[in-house]
């Protein structure tokens, strides 16, 4: 089922949580809402579920398969919602938790006892917790609770599955495991799913599409590849992955990053040069294009990649990531002066991408 949000805004008092959001979620896709805390991603998810009401605007609308659901309450929307802290009913066993959505159906739609039993057992198999039916939530681990919460949401055969930071409360190892599992599950079920996360790695690894949000607005919508390799805005570039930031200014028709003049907050014509650590090449000579002289300060070789920290003439700390092979070829020495050449970089002036020349 596809979901279309039109002109959705939400204010809490003076705070604009969402500013005129327009977006379409494709049927059968797994979409990640990615952003820092306070970016409005959870609010957006809750509005889709009907747990929160959007501000009433003239053109505001929520469509499930081109049917408006704006005025239908959460218990009529048939959405499966998975909460960050699971929200399992602690007075019910695992079995009763999963059966809940079936048992509260109106009498004429309620499945028979046997059907409920079969359905719950099927879901328990799906989440690989067949033996836990009689347990209470307090007797399960965090990862198991989250899988039960998912099974419970799936029991009502939701048109759309909504997950609010589903792995946020789990430790790193369980997180990684559940991440892969969720992707596999989605590939078998193909139910339209939206999940909220602040973890870029999680979004990049699991989602078909990523919606990057900041300050209640959408920064970019795209596949993991698109948002990572072709960030539409400075925010997206900074939020997804490590990045070296150089502050400078625009002078006539080029961006200048080689001055020591201290920048003043709010100053006009400011510019920022963004280069990912793995997009910098270390050379012993400057070459033709822009190159930044810097001194090797520290080298960290323990790990899958080599992290080199350098300091340039303006005392700026710069990170470069190299493969071990590359590092061995360059034969860097501490305090050696080298030149850094960006293979790929982006310059932003004020709030827009800058396509002109720059001096580093």
């Amino acid at each position: 089922m596809s979901i279309i949000l039109k002109n959705i805004s939400k204010t809490f008092g003076d705070f604009h949580a969402l500013k005129n959001i327009n977006i379409e979620f494709q049927s059968g896709e797994l979409t990640a809402l990615l952003g820092p805390s306070g970016s409005g991603k959870t609010t957006l998810l809750r509005i889709v579920a009907g747990l929160e009401e959007a501000d009433r605007g003239a053109n505001a609308d929520i469509l499930f398969d081109s049917q408006t659901v704006t005025s239908s309450p959460v218990n009529r929307r048939q959405v499966g919602f998975v909460f960050q802290h699971y929200a399992l009913f602690r007075h019910m066993t695992v079995f009763e938790n999963i059966a809940f959505g079936l048992r509260v159906k109106p009498r004429d739609q309620r499945p028979s006892k046997q059907d409920i039993k079969d359905k719950v057992n099927e879901l328990l198999r799906l989440v690989q917790l067949e033996n836990m039916a009689g347990r209470y939530p307090s007797q399960l681990s965090g990862g198991q609770r989250q899988r039960i919460a998912l099974a419970r949401a799936l029991a009502i055969e939701p048109k759309v599955l909504l997950l609010d930071e589903p792995f946020g409360a789990l430790d790193a190892q369980v997180r990684a495991e559940l991440r892969r599992w969720l992707r596999k599950l989605h590939d078998t079920l193909h139910v339209t799913s939206i999940f909220v996360t602040h973890d870029q790695e999680e979004a990049l690894e699991v989602a078909d599409r990523i919606v990057v949000m900041n300050h209640g607005a959408i920064e970019q919508i795209g596949t993991p590849n698109e948002v990572f390799h072709r960030p539409a805005t400075e925010f997206v570039m900074q939020f997804l992955g490590d990045v070296n930031v150089f502050h400078g200014r625009i002078e006539s028709d080029s961006a200048i990053f080689n001055e020591t003049v201290p920048l003043i907050e709010g100053q006009e014509n400011t510019a920022r040069l963004l280069v990912r650590p793995h997009d910098l090449t270390i050379q012993s000579t400057p070459g033709k294009g822009p190159a930044l002289p810097a001194k090797v300060y520290r080298v960290l070789t323990a790990g899958p990649i080599v992290k080199v920290e350098l300091i340039d003439r303006h005392n700026r700390l710069i990170q470069v990531h190299l493969s071990h092979d590359n590092y061995n070829q360059t034969m860097l020495k501490l305090h050696e002066e080298v030149y850094l050449v960006p293979r790929e970089s982006r310059v932003y002036a004020n709030n827009d991408a800058w396509t002109g020349a720059y001096v580093i």
């Binding site: 959460v74 218990n75 909460f83 602690r90 007075h91 809940f100 509260v104 159906k105 939530p137 949401a153």
Partner: protein, 277 residues
């Protein structure tokens, strides 16, 4: 492995403070209470049961426990509603209302006793009105129940209120997203989760009502066999210098009270097993 009474600690004063605690506890609480046990044993097994199975005593038990049960039940219903009001509904001056709930704890029982008697007497403010619709409260078992409702009123409210405050609203959202109506969410999720505090509040109100004296005697009329509560009967026996008889009745009452406390603890530890978050 040798037996260790106490884990080692760098903090001083353990011997002194524990010694003082035990001495004081022994002198003020345990010694007098043991007098109760010894005195009742003077009667012997047969005498003990003859005393507490006397029709007048039995009638007082029936009245005391019956009225206490009724009052606690009324408090469960209205206490839960008041707790809901205090937690879930916006209302001006709620802090004052919240504070006034504790009045039955703070008001000396003799004062509440004469106030209730005056209020419900045949020519009292509420008495006149109730009389006109054929309900007699003062000097009846109903009057005793009214007094017991008053003194037990804060218990259910004060146990349910924090539970309702701390209840995770996500649980209600979850129920709702799974298709439950508001009524279904209330009966299948909220009330079952409130059950432990409700039962605790009920038991506390009941235990308090069983032993209540001051707020009841003024409104009760104190007719033997009809409106004579157990506490009053104990005093009557004492005034007749029937120490052993008074003690026997007191022991019977105490046993029930202690059994109740045990029941609360058992219930709480049982429900605590899977109801912890």
């Amino acid at each position: 492995m040798s037996f260790r009474f106490k884990e080692s600690s760098v903090l001083p004063g353990f011997g002194l403070s524990l010694g003082y605690t035990l001495l004081y506890l022994g002198l003020i609480v345990l010694l007098p209470l043991s007098a109760l046990v010894v005195k009742s044993s003077e009667l012997g097994f047969g005498g003990f049961f003859r005393t507490i199975l006397d029709p007048r005593v039995l009638a007082s038990f029936k009245l005391t426990f019956g009225a206490s049960l009724a009052a606690a039940a009324v408090n469960v219903v209205f206490g839960t509603i008041v707790a809901w009001f205090l937690v879930r509904i916006r209302f001006p001056g709620k802090r004052v209302i919240d504070a006034i709930v504790d009045l039955p704890f703070a008001l000396p029982t003799a004062v509440s006793g004469i106030a209730l008697a005056m209020l419900y007497s045949p020519n009292g403010k509420l008495g006149i009105f109730l009389q006109s619709i054929g309900i007699k409260v003062a000097f009846t078992q109903l009057g005793i129940t009214v007094a017991l409702i008053f003194i037990g009123l804060p218990f259910v409210i004060r146990t349910v209120q924090p539970a309702l405050e701390e209840m995770d609203r996500e649980l209600e959202e979850a129920a709702s997203s799974l298709g439950a109506s508001r009524t279904q969410t209330l009966t299948k999720v909220i009330l079952p989760l409130l059950m432990p505090p409700i039962i605790t509040g009920f038991t506390l109100a009941f235990a308090r009502a069983v032993g209540e004296y001051g707020s009841v005697i003024f409104i009760a009329g104190n007719m033997p066999m009809k409106t004579e509560i157990t506490s009053l009967l104990i005093i009557t026996k004492l005034e007749q210098y029937d120490y052993a008889g008074a003690t026997a009745i007191a022991v019977a009452m105490l046993v029930v009270s202690l059994a109740l406390i045990l029941l609360i603890n058992l219930f709480q530890s049982w429900s605590g097993k899977h109801l912890v978050r």
